[in-house]
């Protein structure tokens, strides 16, 4: 299957990723994804490796610390309202 990703699959993935594609882009990606995914298929030959990573807990205590001011956090937003980010309608 992955050797031949079709336009419908590319559109489906683009939809999941919230990236609009025009028809030309879909066609280009169909071609390229076939090649790239065929190369990734080689991973099927990789043997299972036993790895036991040395894990350490890096979480700090949950204490209030200094952080960005509300004004700084909002400074780069196109639209704000009453000290909050304003986005498009949910539906």
């Amino acid at each position: 299957m992955p050797d031949s990703v079709d336009a419908e699959e590319v559109r489906h993935v683009a939809d999941l990723a919230r990236v609009d594609l025009d028809d030309d882009e879909v066609d280009e990606f169909v071609d390229q994804f076939g090649d790239i995914l065929a190369h990734f298929e080689a991973l099927e030959d990789v043997p299972e490796v036993e790895a036991e990573p040395d894990l350490v807990n890096v979480m700090r205590a949950d204490e209030v610390e200094e952080c960005l001011s509300q004004a700084d956090a909002l400074a780069n937003a196109d639209e704000t309202e009453d000290g909050r980010f304003k986005g498009p309608n949910v539906s």
Partner: protein, 440 residues
Amino acid sequence: MSLNAFITEQRIEGDDDGALADATVAVKDNISTEGVETTCGSKMLEGYEPPYDATVVSRLKDAGATIVGKANMDEFGMGTTTETSYFGATKNPVDESRVPGGSSGGSAAAVAAGEADLALGSDTGGSIRCPAAYCGVVGIKPTYGLVSRYGLVAYANSLEQIGPIAETVEDAAALLDVVAGPDEHDGTTREVRRTSDSRAGDARETREEGADSDYAGAAEGDVDGLTIGVPTELVEGAEDAVVDVFEDALDDLEAQGAEVVEVSLPSVEYAVAAYYVIAMSEASSNLARFDGVRYGHSGGYDGNWNESFAKARSEGFGDEVKRRILLGTYALSAGYHDKYYKQAQEARSWVKQDFDEAFDDVDVLASPTMPMLPPELGESLDDPLKMYLADANTTPVNLANLPAISVPAGTSEGLPVGLQLVGPKFGEETIVNAAAAVED
């Protein structure tokens, strides 16, 4: 700027004194600078001014460095040529018809052209070493966890490290000394561990990696008695023009007392595929935050939430970024996760194991940094797979979280060839020392 090495040229003065008081530094545009535009080479972040400094930027300022601008880069670090920047390609100062390499191409070009004494880049799959090799300068990809990634706009967290670029090994090492060391804002840097773990039966790591480093002092070039392993797999695929220069450099190291032995790393044949699957998967998740609401390009669309985001993201991202987001989403999607992502993680474990075993017998590993000479501008953009395959020698190092340096080894057809030295985990002193012998 004829080379287009900078996206933003703006001086940021550091403290009055410090280790870098006389130095100018170019900072890659995916590293946050408070109040100074940081775009990641993308339309998506055009106009974005971070409200805080990355830890490495604070450390540069504390060391007295003067930042001269934000260096051009492949969009979000995705590329091997610095041609995917929304702000146009950077040219290679050695030959302006050629690419400087990527994705930290602006950083390397700025140093090679003398527009900055030093530069910071970031290396996810070779993005510091590739442009260093193509521009004829030195670049270091540090061990994962040595340098804080706080304030680095994430592309693939588990792979990327900020690192130095300079004209000499000693200068690159000196910049690493300034930025290395634990950071309370980044849990992946090595912190002090005061407690001993009785279950493990021995004391835990208590070193602060990089805290009191003297990497610059390690640049002695004393390779007498050093064992250098050459992975055959990383030489076989390289162009003759590159291999000839590489082998001359090895002969020179042997003449200085190093022992050169062949080693085999069978896993590296899978590194490019594993690297791209993991990097694209992480990118698809990391770049989900760019919806134009809190920062960045919004397009001003109204109406349905998802549709507005999809339009804004379509306008804001370039082709290579879309390609990687989509392939990453695909690799993680139901039905394909085991086939791609899980197998890529297996390959990653295998690569780590291969390197560990190699370092039982050798002190460092050497290979050409890039398998080819710097391509002409525009040559590689049409065939993404071909571009990805150029990363064969650099990506294994990121998968294994190891340190590596690219040092100029000579020229072929008037173009620079880089030699890559890979060290064991936190073995920065070893590779800095060996690299200094290459440049002598």
